[in-house]
Symmetry: C2
Subunit: 357 residues, 2 copies
């Protein structure tokens, strides 16, 4: 077995979930990842915790959506009671096909997701952790071989998270104090206020890998234009070369080179979908490539991401929307400044540049 | 996928568990069997039931036994609540290694099993079903290729169970009415009373495959000798060529060609371990070979089995013991008679012989 799987399991048990005696642990699999699940299981057991592994194959999930619509409203009480009596939930992404759900009617997904709302709420009240294992499907989406993709995944996950958190805290500090953010880059000149908002760090507990610091822009404040060199992905479809122009916080002009219609649809979903819900700064320099996988992409060092739609309440955000759509842009070349002072230039934080002198 | 997997799933849903709308279903895997689990999951979902799959790899179970002994006493409340709120439990045997637990200290297993007693009791109060999928480990134990073993498994399971039940009911009828059983065969001449006892049929609900009719001999009644041509298996060890002689229901003489010491140990475990707990007659003529797997072996058509130790209360049995050890013997050549009338000769029931005329 790849020894990096054990290291990932150790991170999840020791750091992300802080598993201890008598914790009831639930480990959830899709298709791949049984080795990681076994490692987590045994590390948890050696702490005196009680692990259980469940598995829901992707193809089973897909075919489940074809059952009688009234059955989609069923509430699985045994799963609810299992969840309610669980302390720690580790979800391992390991799909064998990333497009398995492409042709499910969104309405059927939405019925099912409403039916499971109480379970989902219970889940979020636990010490939950979302992580991933390398699979051929993810490697394919990333346009890599499996072994290249394994290196990619573990380079992102197996970091010194104490150090990483210090780096994220530094970004949080300047964002919390700051008022006006200025993003400059290729076809990009955008300002927004973050005054009074609270930044949060993605410290590799809920998401493994972690590595971002994010906050919520003040409504009506975004002004200017931005070009996203990475595709925006929604329901597995790519919208390429998105260009947005903001006035008083709202998108007033847009274009895309592929699936522009989808961009239009998304912008017009509701009042909040034309406005910014998040400004995030990627700090994970272990991630060097865009792989069409938001769990990794939004953390990439030297990038920022903006989300259209719903803002995080924890950041003090107020924008409401049915969507929260992340779009990612490299800041190399580029410049991020706050209240007139550059905090990052060409993807490198100013304090790290100073270190280099 | 092998279409016989779908047929096995249909048997489990339609016949063995009679799954219906709103049933909460738990499907348990070890290593192999995900295809069968998926088929059961989807068939259950299409009935309006709520399926969930759990998995406990054999190697994980093995390593679990090495944890701190005090942790082995842990009670996993989330698993208990899951079980309690479940209506149907389908356990799929699919180990990748049948000897994985060979070197676990029996005491550690016993501690764990005591700790989980409440969960086990809850399980047995449900509509439970134990079945198996072919795996290379089982094929190896049976000394067959995988594809030969697949044929073996599905020939045993995919029968017309309506017909099979009629055949078992016929045996039950003669056992329920009968008083004295006489077994004759190679080095075998044994009598016992079954007067007043109730026979039960293995109708392929709890065990898939089914195919046996069994009852409990009257204490003190067994007289004579028997030779078991198939090995008796205990804790994965084989005791070959077991010969037993009974007087007044008790084993007074014994021998074996391999592991005779183990036979001696088993006979002396307690007062009940020298006495008969069960007389079973195999009626599954889809099973033509002994494969060192009790789920199949004891159902083999043309065999009988006797168990030393604990009797089934449902049969009216009274013998108590810590063990219930099944030993199997071919009755071809051989003869089974009840109250002086032959019911089976050389492995063929008398009423079937009459049919042939």
């Amino acid at each position: 077995m790849d020894p990096r799987i054990t290291k990932q399991a150790e991170h999840i048990i020791e750091y992300a979930t802080k598993t201890k005696k008598d914790d009831n642990v639930l480990i959830q699999l899709t298709d791949y990842g049984i080795e990681l699940a076994q490692e987590i299981y045994l590390l948890a057991a050696r702490k005196g915790a009680n692990p259980l592994i469940t598995v829901t194959p992707t193809e089973t999930t897909r075919q489940y959506y074809d059952i009688d619509t009234s059955f989609l409203r069923n509430f699985p009480k045994h799963v609810y009671e299992l969840t309610k009596n669980t302390d720690i939930i580790v979800s391992i992404r390991g799909e064998n096909n990333l497009k398995a759900l492409s042709n499910v009617e969104p309405e059927r997904m939405s019925i099912r997701s409403s039916a499971l709302k109480e379970i989902q709420e219970s889940r979020l009240s636990k010490r939950w952790c979302l992580t991933q294992v390398p699979t051929p499907a993810y490697a394919q989406e990333a346009e890599m071989s499996m072994s290249e993709y394994e290196d990619f995944v573990y380079s992102a996950i197996l970091l010194d998270w104490g150090k990483e958190c210090s780096a994220m805290e530094k970004v949080k500090e300047v964002l919390d104090k700051g008022r006006q953010v200025h993003l400059e880059g290729v076809e990009t000149d955008l300002t927004m206020s973050i005054e009074g908002r609270t930044a949060i760090i993605g410290d590799a507990t809920h998401n493994v890998p972690g590595g971002e610091t994010y906050t919520a822009p003040v409504d009506d404040s975004a002004e200017g234009k931005i070009y996203f060199n990475f595709p925006g992905i929604v329901y597995g479809r790519e919208v390429r070369d998105i260009r947005l122009r903001f006035e008083k916080g709202e998108v007033v002009d847009y274009s895309a080179n592929k699936n522009e219609e989808l961009l239009k649809t998304m912008l017009n979903i509701d009042a909040g979908s034309k406005r910014l819900g998040e400004l995030g700064i990627g700090t994970n320099y272990g991630i060097k490539l865009f792989t069409k996988n938001i769990l990794f992409d939004e953390k990439m060092g030297g990038t920022i991401h903006l989300a259209l739609g719903r803002a995080y309440k924890e950041c003090g955000g107020v924008n409401e929307s049915a969507i929260h759509w992340d779009m990612i842009k490299t800041m190399n070349p580029g410049n991020i400044s706050i209240d007139g002072r550059t905090i990052q230039n060409n993807g490198v934080f100013s304090w790290n540049q100073a270190d280099k002198l």
